[in-house]
Structures are given as structure tokens and as C-alpha cells.
């Protein structure tokens, strides 16, 4: 049996927001029957067409695909389209208290459907795609060379997922995107892509060191923009106490204070800060 978290089980057994919105402003559809999972996401905007006031989904797939879809709809409600676009697959997994690595592709599918919906709404052209296999190349940003023929996945999409999730092995790439999971003939190519992305990551890490002032500014910015809204959505919060060199001291507030999984949350905060500010940062809970 998969080791699903209580939150995954809850969102699978009692999925939120199942169904459709007949007058939806934005609809995003990814996956197919052949792939084994598919998600159709409906978004309804407020009168100013800024905020998402309602979200519903229809999903064909396993327990974690259903739970990821349910989580996604809960997460985007109340967000502006730009805020919603910032939701990453890690955010979805994190919301659910984590997913087994073999199931991470379910969170990627959720994030993908969200992007497709918003891109389409904004009038960015979505090309007709292969009706059977349409993970990853459903919209123009991810056009590129087809790498995995079995699941129809392009190099552009793979590089994005590899970079976003800091993947280092082809097994991880399969778990996150399914690429390489059927015939396996594209695994050498996937390894090349990982090497390419890692090469770029090294270059990025070698960038000149941030000044202390700049570092503090960026940390505050990321906390305000990317982290606190998410915690608040769950009834929690955090406060920045101090920044001492590379050590960022935070304190959890409200529901996060004393929460059994605050250690995971701290790790998540660290991951986000490292990703968006500087790789050497450490988060300490005080």
C-alpha cells in the first residue's frame, strides 16, 4: 500500500470542489485515459476578472491524483491569476503533507492544468495536441523536442520540472513526469537533460555573493510574497525574527505554532528561500 498522509486520504475520500462550472472563465485540461490520469480544471473569476472566486475539477486517476486536484482547487480560490500561477507542484504536495515520490507526477499534473487554464484564458494560443498523449506540451511555453514518446513529453517541460524540483536522477524524473516510465528508451536523453540543468544550476550558484542588505531584502520579500500567504491560508503564520549571516531565524505563529509538522514547514521555508534567494541560507526555528 502507498504511504499516503492523512491529508491525502482526506482529500481522496472527501474531495472538495468536484464537478464543473458551466460558465467558467477558464478551463484547463491535461492528461488522457491512455496515460492513466487526467484532470479538467474549471475556474470562475470575480466581476473584475482578477480573483478566482470558484474552482472545480473532474479527475480520472488514482487516489493521489484526486487528492492533488482537490488540494489545487482549495489553494487557488481567492487568489489572483498571477498568484495562482505562482503555485508550484511542490506547493500542492506540501499542502497535502507530502506525496510518495512515485506519485509526484500527480502534483505536476495539477500545476499543469492550472497553467493551461490561465494561459488559455489570457488568450495565449494553445495548439491542438495529440489527444492521446498530452502531458507537458499542451501549451506554447513548453513546445520543444519530444523526448518521451510513450507519454508525449518534451525537453522544455522536462527541464522545467527538473529545475523546479531539483531532480538529479532519471528515476526521479520518471516519478515526477512519467517520462521514461514505459519503454524506457528515452532514459539516456533524460540523463543528458539532467546534466544540462545541473550545469546551469552550478553556474547560477557561482553568481557573485549577495550583499547582506540585498539578502535581507530578498528574504523578506520571499517570505511576504511566497510563504506567509500560504501559511495563512491554512490558518498559520510566521514571523521573521532575525537574519544573522546565512542564518534566517523565524518563529511560527497561530496554527503553525506547536503544529507537529512545523519541522517540515521550516524545511519547506528553507527550500523556498534557497531556491529564490541564495543557496547557502539556513532556516532556524526560534
Amino acid at each position: 500500500m502507498w504511504d499516503y498522509t492523512p491529508k491525502v486520504k482526506d482529500h481522496f475520500l472527501n474531495p472538495r470542489n468536484v464537478g464543473d462550472i458551466p460558465d467558467a472563465d477558464a478551463v484547463g485540461e491535461v492528461g488522457s485515459l491512455a496515460c492513466g490520469d487526467a484532470l479538467k480544471l474549471y475556474l470562475k473569476l470575480d466581476d473584475n476578472k482578477e480573483k478566482i472566486v470558484d474552482a472545480k475539477f473532474q479527475t480520472f486517476g488514482c487516489a493521489s491524483a484526486i487528492a492533488s486536484s482537490s488540494a489545487l482547487t482549495e489553494m487557488v480560490k481567492g487568489k489572483t491569476l498571477d498568484e495562482a500561477l505562482a503555485v508550484s507542484n511542490q506547493d500542492i504536495a506540501e499542502f497535502l503533507g507530502g506525496l510518495p515520490e512515485e506519485k509526484m507526477h500527480c502534483s505536476v499534473m495539477g500545476q499543469e492544468a492550472l497553467e493551461v487554464a490561465i494561459f488559455k484564458y489570457r488568450g495565449l494560443e494553445v495548439p491542438d495536441h495529440d489527444a492521446e498523449h498530452d502531458h507537458g506540451h499542451a501549451y506554447p511555453d513548453y513546445e520543444g523536442t519530444l523526448v518521451c514518446k510513450c507519454f508525449g513529453i518534451t525537453d522544455t517541460f522536462l527541464k522545467k520540472v527538473i529545475a523546479d524540483n531539483h531532480l538529479t536522477t532519471s528515476e526521479q524524473v520518471t516519478n515526477f513526469t512519467k517520462a521514461g516510465g514505459a519503454c524506457g528508451s528515452c532514459i539516456p536523453k533524460i540523463k543528458e537533460l539532467i546534466a544540462e540543468v545541473l550545469g546551469q544550476a552550478k553556474e547560477a550558484a557561482a553568481k557573485p555573493k549577495l550583499s547582506n542588505l540585498k539578502k535581507m531584502q530578498l528574504v523578506q520579500e520571499v517570505l511576504e510574497r511566497d510563504i506567509r500567504p500560504m501559511l495563512r491560508a491554512d490558518g498559520g503564520d510566521l514571523e521573521l525574527i532575525d537574519i544573522d549571516g546565512d542564518h534566517v531565524q523565524i518563529a511560527f505563529r497561530k496554527a503553525c505554532a506547536g503544529c507537529a509538522s512545523s519541522g517540515n514547514t521550516a524545511k519547506f521555508v528553507e527550500m523556498k528561500l534557497r531556491e529564490l534567494v541564495y543557496d547557502g541560507l539556513r532556516v532556524q526555528e526560534v
Binding site: 481522496f12 492513466g36 484526486i66 512519467k178
Partner: protein, 388 residues
């Protein structure tokens, strides 16, 4: 919550009588059956009795039975042995729907220069005998076809296939792990050289299996060391489990008629009721000769893992050919070999009964499954128009 266990092709409950039979051989009668003293000797007399009981179920003679640790070991031993005793032959024939215990081993052997032909099946899961007849030649060392398929229960014509193998000078092995104890087997009137069985599929514990090797069939052991099993399988005998397997085989013989009447009737009732209650459902292997206890049903537009977990919430244990349950990303190789459309393969559920399955358990599944399928279909973006 009392479990409703309908996953007997995965493993079975150890029969209470089997457990009673093996119990004294842990703390009290713990001697080594190979020892010279009386204390080991009393164990040996029980393992001798067990060997006879296993042989009786198969219509074999006791010295044709080699105890192993599991079905997989029996399969590996048989194939390796054939290749060693026929070193000039470099061709292996098996089927596309074998258990990984056979299929993985055959595929690995291609790296050692062996040619492997995997014979296909038709949409009902029946072996393509014409393809087999064309594939076999005087280079074929071993043919290994399963007696019955674990996922669909489809029965292969192994006797006919064995006769063809023998006519070509090849050895014939069958993985009968799912067949033994469920359908009558008589090796005395057979051309099969080797047959694998597994204890935990017929109400003996896990960790015990056997390999039948016909008298006169050239054989090389996989495990070497001591003289146990007449030097055909070295390693101290797992005496308690061997004694358990003997008892389980004796009981399987006694329940054989029930398996093919009452168990079969329950399985058929389940299948018919589910097909009647749930539209867009079909039986995998429905047109073929099948085991009395197995039914694999494909439900369109829904995914197997979700079905299994919702059943599991109600205590109902079944199995799926879906990709998501196994950690792989493609549906089962068996269903794909049969050409079952992906739309159905992802939503395939297998129920496998045993003599312990009750009518009320079958009633529970007939009651609970249709709303589960309806609920998931309501959630699915596919087939909503179909199902209106």
C-alpha cells in the same frame, strides 16, 4: 472491521489445520531431519509424509518432489537447469503473460546470448499455439508456459504444449503456482517435465514452494552445498513449512471438488451480478477457460487504485491491473498483451476467491462496488456523456 478477503491469488490464509500440523516443529520437535539421532529422525518421518502428500495432489511420485523456498525459486531452478543440461541449445520459449518470476529471468538471459521468444495471446488471453509451433526448433532448450494466469485466471493448454516441446527435444516447464489446488493435476498422465508450485497460494505459509521434476529428466541444481533433497536443492530443510505444505496439499485434494463447484459458483455469481449492475464493464479473459476462483473485470473511465482504496475503506480486499497500484506507469503486461484497451486496463479489478469466501462476502461486494464505480465516474472527466 472484519476483512472481506478476495485476493487469494496474491496470498491465502493459512488453514488452521495446517498451522496446527506445523506448530510442534518449532519449539518441541526442532531436530534437523538429516541428523542420525532419533530426534531428527522423527522430523524426517514427517517431511517424508509431507512429500508424499504433495506428490499425491499432483499424481506424482514422492521422489519427483523437490522442496524450495518459493514459486520463484522453483521457476528459476527449472529454467536454469534446462539450459545447463542442454548446453548446445540456445533458445528459450515463454509467453508474454508469464509471472515476472519467469519473464524477468528469461529476459535477463538474453544478455547471456540466449534467444528468447515470447508467445502472444489473443484478446481473451488464450495462448497463440500457431505462433508457438512456428517458434519452436531444434535449438529450443526449454519451453516455459504458466498453467493458469494469476491476473485473469485463463488456463493454458499446457499438456498439448508439452507434447510439442518433447517432440522437438526441448524440456517443458510450467509455472503452476495458480493452478495447483484449484484444478485437478495428474502428472502420471502428462508429458510435462517440470512444474512449480507455491505453498502460500494454497493455504500453507509463505516461504515454502516445490518443484516437480519428472523421473528421468536430466536436472542440475541451482543451490549447491549439502546433500538435502538428494543433492537437488542444498540447504537445511524448512521442516515446519514442508510439513505445512504437505497438510495443505492433502486438504487441497479434499476440497478440489468444492473448489470447482461451490467456490466456482460464488465467483460466477459475483461476476454476473457486477456486470449486470455496472454498465461499461467487461471480463478480462471472459471468452477463455478460466480458474474457478478468479474474475478480472475492467470498468471503463475509472482508475483501479482509486477503486481498490475505496473498497479497502470498507474492508474489501481485491487487486488491480492498474499502473498506479504497482508503482509502474503502465497497466499490467498481461492486460496489454491481451490488447485490452488502456481505457479499460487502468480500471481493471481482480477478485480471487478461496474456500473461505462466503456468500455474505460476495453479497457485500455486489452491494458496495456499484456505488463506488458510479462515484468515481461522476468525478471523472470521461464518459459522462456515455453514462447519462
Amino acid at each position: 472491521m472484519k476483512e472481506i478477503y478476495l485476493d487469494n491469488n496474491a496470498t491465502t490464509k493459512v488453514d488452521e489445520a495446517v498451522f496446527e500440523e506445523m506448530k510442534p516443529y518449532f519449539c518441541e520437535l526442532y531436530g534437523n531431519p538429516s541428523s542420525m539421532h532419533y530426534f531428527g529422525g522423527q522430523v524426517q518421518s514427517k517431511t517424508t509424509e509431507a512429500r508424499k502428500r504433495v506428490a499425491d495432489l499432483l499424481g506424482a511420485s514422492p521422489d519427483e518432489i523437490i522442496f524450495t523456498a518459493c514459486g520463484t525459486e522453483s521457476d528459476n531452478t527449472a529454467i536454469r537447469s534446462a539450459l545447463e543440461v542442454l548446453p548446445d541449445r540456445r533458445h528459450i520459449i515463454t509467453s508474454r503473460v508469464e509471472h515476472p518470476a519467469v519473464l524477468t529471468q528469461c529476459r535477463n538471459l538474453t544478455a547471456k546470448g540466449y534467444r528468447v521468444t515470447e508467445i502472444g495471446v489473443d484478446s481473451a488471453g488464450r495462448l497463440d499455439m500457431d505462433e508457438y509451433k512456428k517458434a519452436i526448433d531444434d535449438d529450443t532448450a526449454i519451453v516455459s508456459f504458466m498453467w493458469a494466469n494469476n491476473e485473469t485466471g485463463v488456463i493454458f493448454p499446457v499438456e498439448e504444449a508439452a507434447a510439442i516441446a518433447k517432440a522437438n527435444g526441448a524440456q517443458f516447464h510450467t509455472d503452476a503456482v495458480q493452478a495447483v489446488g484449484k484444478i485437478p493435476i495428474n502428472m502420471a498422465a502428462s508429458k510435462i517435465d517440470m512444474l512449480s508450485l507455491s505453498g502460500h497460494k494454497l493455504h500453507a505459509p509463505k516461504g515454502i514452494g516445490a518443484l516437480y521434476v519428472r523421473k528421468g529428466t536430466p536436472f542440475r541444481p541451482l543451490m549447491v552445498g549439502g546433500h538435502q533433497e538428494k543433492s537437488r536443492r542444498a540447504g537445511t530443510e524448512n521442516a515446519a513449512a514442508i510439513i505445512a505444505l504437505g497438510k495443505a496439499c492433502q486438504l487441497a485434494g479434499e476440497f478440489m471438488e468444492a473448489e470447482n463447484t461451490t467456490v466456482k459458483a460464488k465467483c460466477e455469481r459475483l461476476e454476473k451480478a457486477l456486470l449486470a449492475a455496472i454498465p461499461h464493464a467487461r471480463v478480462n479473459g471472459g471468452g477463455a477457460d478460466r480458474l474457478p476462483n478468479t474474475t478480472s473485470i475492467a470498468f471503463e473511465f475509472v482508475e483501479g487504485e482509486a477503486i481498490l482504496l475505496l473498497l479497502s475503506e470498507l474492508g474489501i480486499c481485491a487487486s488491480s491491473g492498474s499502473a498506479c497500484t504497482s508503482g509502474s506507469l503502465e497497466p499490467s503486461h498481461v492486460l496489454r498483451a491481451m490488447g485490452v484497451p488502456f481505457t479499460c486496463a487502468h480500471g481493471s479489478i481482480r477478485f480471487s476467491l478461496s474456500r473461505y469466501s462466503t456468500d455474505s462476502e460476495i453479497d457485500a461486494v455486489i452491494k458496495e462496488l456499484p456505488p463506488i464505480i458510479a462515484r468515481l465516474r461522476q468525478m471523472s472527466p470521461f464518459g459522462r456523456e456515455f453514462l447519462k
